[in-house]
Each structure stands twice: as C-alpha cells, then as structure tokens.
C-alpha cells in the first residue's frame, strides 16, 4: 500500500523505477497431448507428443505502465497470462516479483503471490459466480487476504466499487451478476482483483467479450488504474489498435514465440516483423487507400504440436527465404527500443549459409 | 471398435463385480440367515451337496475365503449354480433354464414394442407440439409413477376378472401340451397379452418423454431448419434429420430404463403367476432357497449386461462418431 502511494505521485512517467514489477525470462510451456497425436516430431522426454503453447518468452512489466501482448488465437498469449498468474506451472522459466526471485509453480505458494498479482479474465459473464451477490464476490478476497476488519468491510466494498467507477456503490452491492450488463460485470471483476491491492494486473483480453461501445470505458479504466495507482498492467489482446491506444510497450506473439517487441508507437507505426505487418494490414483502416498491400501465401496458424522448422511464420510469410525454413531467427535490435525476430533484419552476409541440398 | 471394446471391458468388470457381490453378501451380512435356512434341511442332503453348499455360502466350513472364492468361480465356469434346496435335488440351472425363456420372451417382446411405440409417439408429439397428442404427457407422468404390479392388478381386475376377455393366470392354458403346437402358441400369446400390456404401459412413458424432449431440442437446430428450407418432405426431415439425432441420447439412457423394466416385469410376473424368473425368484425367497436366489440374480445380471451391450451395438450403428473413433 505505502509503496504504491509513493509512486502515485510520479504520475504518468513512472518508468524511472529501475526494477520491473514483474519480470519473467525463458518461460516455456509444453502441454502433453492426450490421445493419439499422430506422428508429431516434438515429444517430451517420455516420448509423448507435446504442444508448444509458449516457447522461451521473456517479459517485463513496469509499475505505472501497460504492456500489451498481441497475437491471434492460439499464439500462447493467454497461456502466458496464466503462467504469470501462476494458474499453471510452466515447463521452465524464471520469475521475479519486485526484483525478488519467485517460484513459478501453481501450487502452494501461489496464494500469497496472488496478493500481489491478479488476473482479470476474459468473459465477465462467466467469471462471476451467478449465485453470489456483488457484495459476496468482492468481500471474499478482502476476507481471505485479511485486507480489512469486519467493521471496515462496508467502506472497503464501497471504495472498491468507486475505484472502478460503479457509483453510487450502494446500487450495485446487492445485485446478482445477471442483473448487471457486461461492462458493469467486468468492472466488478476488476474490483475483485483490486481488493487485494495488487502490484500487477494481468488482463486476459478483458474487453473482447464486450460490446465495442463499452470497450473504451473499460480500457480507460485500466489505464487510469495503471497510472493513478501505479499498477503494472499486462494487456493481452488480439487487437493491435487497442494495444496502441492503451499500452506503452507491445509484444507480438506468434505460435508461442515473441516475434517483435518495442514501444507501442514504434511497433504499430513501423512494424519490423512481417507478421506484425500482416496483422496491421488485416486491421480495418479507413484512411488506407486501395486494398491492403501485404498479402500472404494464405494458410492458418501452424500446428503447435508439430511447429514448422526454422521460423514458425515462414509458411505464411510473403518474404520467406530458404534460410527461414531451416533456422529460427534470433531476436535483433531493429532500432534502439524495438526488437524483431526475422532474418530480413540480418545482413545477408551474416546469415548462415544455406545450400540447396540442405533445404530439402 | 475401440468404443465397443471399451464397453465390453466395462461389462466384464461389471459382471465380475456383480458376481463378487453375490459371493460376498452372505458372508458379509451379520446374523447368518443362510445358516439357519440350511440347518432346516439337516440330514436331507447328500454329503457331497452339503459340502458344496457350505463352500458356496461360507457356512460350516473351515476353508479359507480364498479357497471358497476359487471354488465359487470354478463352479460358475462349469455352469454349476448349485442345487436348489427347495426342490432338492434339482439343479438351480435346470430350474432357471425352464423359467428364463418365458421371461426373456415376455420382457424382450414388450420392451421392443414399448421402445418402438414410445419413440414413435415421442417423435410425433414433438413434431406436432401443441396438438392433441400433448395430452399424453401428463398421463405418462402418472403412469411412470405407478408400481408395475399394481397396474397389473388393475388390468387383471378389469379385463380378467370382470370382463373375462383375457386369461390372467400362468403362462398357458390347462390341458395344453408344452411344445411347438398351435394350441400352445395361441394359448401362450393370449396369456402373455395382459402382462405385456402392463410392462408396455409402465415403461412406454420413459421412452416417450425422453424422445420428445430430445426431439424438441433437435428440431430447433439449424440443420433441421436448413433441411426444411431446402424443401425436403416433412417425413424425411422428421425421421432422417431430427429423430436420427434425437434418438442417440435416448438410447444412451437404455441401461437405466432396462433396470426399471426388469424390476417391473419381475413383479408383473408374480401378479400373473407367469412361469418366468420373477415367480421363481419369489418362490426362492419365500422358501429361503439361497442357491436358487443367487443363481437368479446372477443370470438376470448377465442377461441385463448382454442387453446393454446390444444397445451399445445399436448405438454404434446409429452414431457415426463412435465408429470414426476406431
């Protein structure tokens, strides 16, 4: 609480704090596949086929800054959020909370961890138990983590609702979830996360289930919470435009890997990775003249059980080169802040040599 | 195939469990009723039979439980269910093999009629919902709550005792010789009508309501609307599109239904003094003939398992998804 108050004063540019609120490196999540998954090449040690949901992802979240993770369905972005919330235990990776190394297991220690890191779920219609009133849903985290005594409970509940702009609070406290609209429900869900006074909010597509017209309200609320209360916010989305609107930094994920990262403005305005370019061209843009420039050879996201060799994007990439099918490109600085994993940004001379024979 | 093998494995485990329960019950339950019953026949059995009974029920024997269990299974695999105490020295298997065909014929035929009729009615009620057929639903609620044997009593009173329309006592008329002759067959059918009606009336509601509910759900599916939109005949939409899909969950509930039918028909037989398994079981119970009781439970269980497996086969035939899994 006190730490948060100190940083509130610094307002929008809080990023001067040298330690990230939450940092993770080398996160990898392989899910075992049940049943027969055919002749998959990738198998775990016991020889069972695995899904590479998240592959060697590193991320830093800063207090007072929104970091967006952008990717299409199946890119592993939601899995990443759940790993960071310690809902699932990753296969490997390391985690630091406020600079302190923290175990990543979803087991016992996770309860205390969730005091600091909270996850906002995608679908507010199903993330609130339909049989419990708003009062119950909000008072549970307060009681579990002993945030307030029972005399102060009512005040705490009201201030929670006020923080998510559900005013007057008395009108919402005794409502059941079905009596609220989607936007209101998502605000209650956010209030529930705020109840434990977390340092980090992980928002897993918090507006994708909501109507376009009320999305903005929720995004603005997240931004305000981030800056006013100096929260570190992870915003998971498939929508680059909203990431640009809300986030300071953006990570673009494809098939479980980060393909591009950097300041939101740079990534969106001058995308360096062909996949990011593709994402942008797919978004509707009223100012664009003529058809979208970038076309792909089509195709669907790759199978994560049996990902393509080399760069995972190469089967769909309009710029694919022989090297792309063989070697995974390294993460490269394309500008001081912006990094992308693409062979296009490697000097042709520095690329590994590919003989025609090796390609086959 | 894979699906069927899995089901088969389940039935084998179930059969093993049922037979083990059969073995364990007389040994687990305190107050040795079997001992008391057997003591009454003291000295009437040959020494060999006495020893076999002791092993079968775990009375008066020093053999270890494992030996008894082993003996139980080896006897079962030889088809030896022991000797009936009430009809000594007839073998239990002989008594059962005499009674079983009656029950299987009665329950089998009435179940098939009940299933077919109930399903068809369910389809029709769902198709013409809001029509006059809807009146069947409250009636079926009542019928499904009626004890089978009581319905049997009422039918006997009305059609047998008062109206003298149909025979209601035993499986065939007096003076008719058992065998493949027309007199016997005619008599057997006449005697089977009332028990069959009892079973059908009591069990039809389950099939009907289940089918109707699934049909109503299926009828609101888009593919049914598409089928209608492309101009298929009502009959085709009703049967090949809606009913074909709606019948699957209904069939999956077969096991539960069958349990009720078996229970109900056992009692129905008793009302009609029908020469089947139900009456034999009652006789066994009243004369405390434990070997016969055990044998009947065993046979009923096995028959029910086979019937369930048959339902699974039908399910596989109707549901392409279970075939693809293979």
């Amino acid at each position: 609480m006190s730490a948060a108050e100190v940083t509130v004063a610094s307002g929008r540019e809080v990023s001067t704090d040298p330690t990230p609120a939450l940092e993770a490196t080398g996160l990898t999540q392989h899910f075992r596949v049940r049943g027969r998954a055919g002749r998959a090449r990738s198998r775990n040690r016991r020889g069972r086929p695995v899904v590479h949901a998240v592959d060697d992802v590193s991320i830093k979240l800063w207090a007072g800054r929104v970091t967006a993770v952008v990717g299409e369905s199946g890119s592993g972005k939601s899995t990443l959020a759940r790993i960071l919330a310690r809902m699932i235990t990753p296969s490997s990776g390391r985690l630091w909370l406020d600079g302190r190394a923290t175990p990543l297991s979803a087991g016992r220690g996770a309860r205390a961890y969730r005091n600091k890191v909270q996850l906002i779920l995608q679908d507010p219609f199903s993330s609130l138990n339909p049989i419990h009133s708003v009062r119950y849903q909000l008072s549970r985290p307060l009681r579990i983590h002993k945030m307030v005594g029972s005399e102060e409970l009512d005040d705490a509940l009201e201030s929670l609702l006020e923080r998510v702009k559900l005013t007057p609070p008395s009108q919402y406290l005794d409502k059941l979830p079905h009596e609220l609209s989607g936007g209101q429900l998502q605000r209650v869900a956010i209030a529930r996360c705020l109840a434990v006074e977390p340092r980090v909010l992980l928002a897993d597509e918090p507006v994708s289930m909501l109507d376009v017209s009320i999305r903005l309200g929720i995004l603005n609320l997240l931004e305000e919470l981030c800056h006013a209360e100096s929260l570190a916010v992870l915003y998971v989305t498939h929508d680059l435009a909203s990431a640009r609107y809300l986030a300071t930094d953006v990570l673009v994920m494809y098939a479980g890997q980060v393909v591009e990262s950097g300041p939101a403005a740079a990534v969106v305005d001058t995308p360096a990775h062909p996949y990011t370019q593709l994402l942008l061209s797919a978004a509707a843009d009223p100012e664009r003249e003529g058809p979208a420039e970038l076309t792909t050879s089509g195709g669907a996201p790759p199978s994560l059980i049996d990902p393509p060799a080399g760069c995972r994007f190469h089967p769909r990439c309009p710029h694919a080169m022989p090297i792309c099918a063989i070697a995974n490109p390294p993460m490269l600085d394309v500008s001081p802040d912006q990094r992308a994993a693409c062979w296009l940004h490697v000097d042709p001379a520095d690329r590994p040599k590919v003989s025609e024979g090796a390609k086959a | 195939m894979r699906y069927l093998l899995r089901r088969l494995a389940f039935y084998i485990v179930t059969a093993w469990a049922a037979l083990t329960i059969n073995f364990a019950l007389p040994r687990l339950i305190p107050g040795n009723a079997v001992q008391a019953a057997l003591d009454k026949f003291q000295g009437q059995f040959s020494p060999g039979v006495e020893k076999a009974l002791a092993l079968q029920f775990g009375t008066n024997t020093k053999a270890s439980l494992l030996t008894q269990y082993w003996h139980y299974w080896s006897q079962l695999f030889q088809g030896n269910l022991g000797v009936s105490t009430s009809e000594y020295p007839t073998h239990v298997s002989t008594i059962i093999s005499k009674a079983l065909p009656w029950t299987i014929a009665l329950v089998g035929i009435s179940s098939v009629i009940s299933f077919t009729l109930g399903t068809l009615l369910g389809i029709l009620i769902a198709w013409r919902r809001g029509g006059r057929l809807d009146a069947l639903l409250p009636i079926s609620t009542f019928l499904s709550a009626v004890p089978y044997f009581w319905l049997g009593l009422i039918l006997v009173t009305v059609f047998g005792v008062s109206l003298h329309w149909l025979p209601f006592f035993q499986g065939y008329g007096q003076g008719v010789t058992l065998g493949l002759n027309w007199a016997f067959i005619g008599s057997a059918i006449a005697h089977g009508v009332l028990p069959a009606i009892t079973i059908i009336l009591s069990s039809i509601a389950g099939w009907m309501v289940g089918m109707r509910n699934m049909m109503v759900t299926t009828l609101s599916e888009d593919y049914v609307m598409v089928a209608q939109a492309k101009g298929l005949s009502d009959r085709r939409v009703m049967f090949t599109y809606a009913a074909r899909n709606a019948i699957l969950p209904n069939l999956a509930g077969f096991a539960l239904q069958l349990g009720f039918v078996v229970a109900g028909s056992l009692l129905t037989e008793i009302i009609f003094s029908y020469p089947g398994i139900g009456v034999t079981l009652l006789n066994a119970v009243t004369s405390k003939d434990y070997p016969l009781m055990q044998g009947i439970f065993l046979v009923i269980t096995l028959v029910v398992l086979v019937a369930n497996f048959a339902a699974d086969l039908l399910y596989v035939l109707l549901d392409p998804r279970t075939r693809q899994e293979a």
Partner: protein, 417 residues
C-alpha cells in the same frame, strides 16, 4: 447451503440507472419489487399432492378411525359409511391401514432419498472435481451400480436380512439408488469446475473445500434437488415392491407395500375386492406423480437467477425460466448510448451439450418483426422442454434452467464477435 446466498429476491426497487433511458426502463421492469413467482399449474398440483401425503404421513396414524391390525367389522365388505374404504379378509379397516401405512412408506422413501442424495453428492462432486484417476474409479463404481439391476440385488440382499425393519430397508435401498444422482452431479461438476468463476475464485485465493461447498455446490442445487426427488420416487417404488414380496417384516408394520402383500396373499384379486388393493397402489402412484411434478417447479424455486422475477409478461417468464434473455424492441433504442446498433431482437437459445445440461448460445437477429415472431415461437417450444423433462425422464437428459443472463442486447451482441 451458502449462507451468503440472498434468500429473498432483491426488492430494493432502485430504479435510477446510469445508462440511457432505455436501459433505465429495462431495469425498472427487472428490479420491480418481486411478486410471488407464479408457478405453472403442474407445479402447484405436484406440491399440493406432496403436501397432502406428507400431512397424511404426519397425522394419518392419529386420524385413523380404527386399529389397522384389529378385526373391526365384517370381512371383505366394500366401502360403506362405517368403513370408507371397506374391510379386508381379516375384517381390518382399509382406510386405517392406508392412513397408518403412509408414515412408514414416506419415511422410508424420504430417508432413503436423503441418504442416497448425500452419497451421490459425495461421490459425484468428488469425482467431478478430482478428475483423473479418482474420477475414473469413482465413475466406474457409479456406472457399475447403474447397470447391475437394482431390484434383484435388493431382493437377494434383503433375503439375507429376514424381517428387516423400515430403517434397514431405507439404508439398503439408498445403497443401490445413489448412482444415478452421482453420475448427473459428476457431469455437472465437471462442467462447472472449468468455468471462469472457479478460476476467479482460485485467483482470489479460495481454499478447495470452500470452492466446492460455496462456489460449485450451490450452483448444483437444482440438480441435487431433482435427483433427490427422483431417488425418493425410486425408493418408494422399490420399498413397496420389497414389502409386496414379503421380504420385510410384513406382519408388524403397516405400509402401502404390506397392504398389497396381504391383498395379494389373501386373494383379494380373485374375490374382486378392488377397494383393498386399489387405494394403496393409487396412493403410491399419486405420491410419485406429485414428486415428478414438483420436480418441474424446483428449478424455478431454487435458482436465484429466476427469483428476481418481476417480468411483465407471462411468456417472458417462461422464456427466462429457460435461460432466454428477453429483450423487447423499443422505438427509442437507437437513441441510447448502450444500443448504438439500433433495436434488435436478441435471444439466447438453448443447445444441449454432452452432459445433458443446456448451454445458452447467443444469437442475434436484426430487428425484423417476422424474425422476432418466429424466434419467439421457437423459443416457446423449447421452453416446454423443461416442463416435461424432470418427470418421466430417467435417462438423465434434462433440459435444465440455464444460467440466465439479463443484459443489454448490445452486450450480448458483443459476445458474438
């Protein structure tokens, strides 16, 4: 179960809403002080029948005009003013036997139902929540008990317990009657276990036992209650059958089953003494009908989503009971902030999923009046699924009242995207 579940409809009547005029008017309709919910006629009949027989079970033995075992009149006479339901061969009063027998019959039925339901909750919820091997083995046991024919097993079982009393009968019946409920509850728990609100509860730091007892179980109240009623019906029918076969102590205690036993044994049938065997069987059938009909009403009673009531139209109530969101077209819709897309008719349709539970599937149709009418009629048809499902449908396929979400149509449109 949950102490925090509001026991009364929210009758706050706070009408002012932050949203536009349209939303405000919708709210007004929804949160109007709840009237007593109007049940369907069937439900009233069901609860009426149950209440009648429960009263009979409580006061019957006191109200019985004669000692049911004593010879009090001429033998085998039909109904008369002295003996409203006639007498038996042993000159006993049938009405007195019926009144006295009600207590034991219902007591055994409800006791067996309680024990079996408790067992099915323990087995079903544990299996569903555990998953993995625990689930596999518990499910195997439940399926096993479902497939093994119950009555023959019970007959064999009770024959080892000669002269078993009512309590033993209840225990023995519940030992075979729990599997159905366990299977339904397991499926239900499996589906609830993966809902987002369970994930959210874990994130909040809830302990496992609290998640099971306060987050999962209350959501299964309707299923538990319906499986309870089903089991009671099963127990009463089974008990009557066992009594009828003379497997329990038939001479001492009077139940409807032992009445039928004596009627059968003393040839009531062949002498045409219908007044002897019709009343007990009819009583069983009526209790059963009452239980089945009460099942319909349970969903309405238990589910708090359905309790806030106050819906204007009866047809609406029917739809909402089914999990439909009823949104009426309003001419001023386009003017409000919450519905920028203009008036539309939104309904949430039911689609049965594998476990017999229906899930709402959102579908929005543009505000064309024809579409409106068409879907409404379709919905009304689906709505009937529920009213019949609980009754004679032991297949385990129940079209339940589904989580019903009232919300702005704009919001549900968002769910489509």
């Amino acid at each position: 179960m949950s102490v925090d579940t509001p026991t009364q409809p929210s009758a706050t009547g706070d009408n002012a809403r932050p949203a536009g005029p349209r939303a405000a008017s919708l709210r007004r309709r929804r949160t109007r002080p709840a009237r007593r919910r109007r049940f369907s006629r069937k439900t009233y009949v069901g609860f009426g029948l149950l209440a009648f027989f429960i009263l009979m079970a409580i006061f019957g033995p006191i109200a019985a005009p004669y000692d049911p075992s004593a010879a009090v009149g001429p033998s085998l006479v039909g109904p008369s003013s002295a003996h409203l339901l006639g007498t038996t061969q042993n000159s006993q009063d049938v009405l007195s036997q019926l009144l006295v027998g009600a207590r034991t019959t219902l007591l055994v039925g409800f006791l067996a139902g309680l024990i079996a339901t408790a067992l099915s909750i323990v087995f079903g919820v544990t299996a569903g929540y555990l998953g993995g091997w625990g689930d596999e083995s518990l499910s195997l046991v439940a399926n096993l008990f479902l497939v093994i024919p119950a009555l023959p097993l019970l007959i064999v079982l009770t024959s080892y317990l000669p002269g078993a009393g009512p309590l033993t009968t209840a225990v023995v019946i519940s030992a075979t009657g729990w599997a159905w409920g366990a299977r339904v509850l397991r499926a239900q728990t499996l589906s609830i276990r993966n809902r987002d609100y369970i994930v959210a509860a874990k994130i909040s730091g809830e302990r496992t036992w609290r998640i099971v007892l306060f987050e999962i179980l209350p959501n299964e109240a309707a299923v538990v209650a319906s499986s309870f009623l089903f089991t009671v019906l099963f127990a009463i029918l089974t008990q009557v059958a066992l009594d009828f076969l003379g497997l329990v102590n038939v001479s001492g205690s009077w139940t409807w089953g032992t009445m039928l036993y004596w009627a059968q044994n003393d040839q009531a049938l062949s002498v045409g003494a219908w007044w002897w065997f019709v009343p007990p069987g009819l009583a069983v059938a009526l209790v059963g009908t009452g239980l089945a009909l009460a099942n319909f009403g349970l969903d309405e009673l238990i589910d708090p989503r359905l309790r806030s009531a106050g819906l204007t139209r009866r047809s609406d109530a029917k739809l909402v009971r089914q999990g439909f969101t009823v949104v009426h077209r309003r001419p001023d819709a386009a003017a409000t902030a919450h519905a920028p897309t203009g008036g539309g008719f939104t309904e949430v349709r039911l689609r049965a999923n594998g476990n017999g539970r229906s899930e709402p599937v959102a579908a929005t149709i543009g505000g064309a009046p024809e579409a409106d009418a068409h879907l409404a009629s379709q919905a009304a048809d689906s709505a009937e699924v529920d009213t019949q499902a609980g009754a004679g449908n032991p297949t385990g396929v129940r079209a339940d009242a589904v989580p019903q979400r009232q919300r702005d149509d704009a919001a549900s449109e968002g769910r489509l995207g």
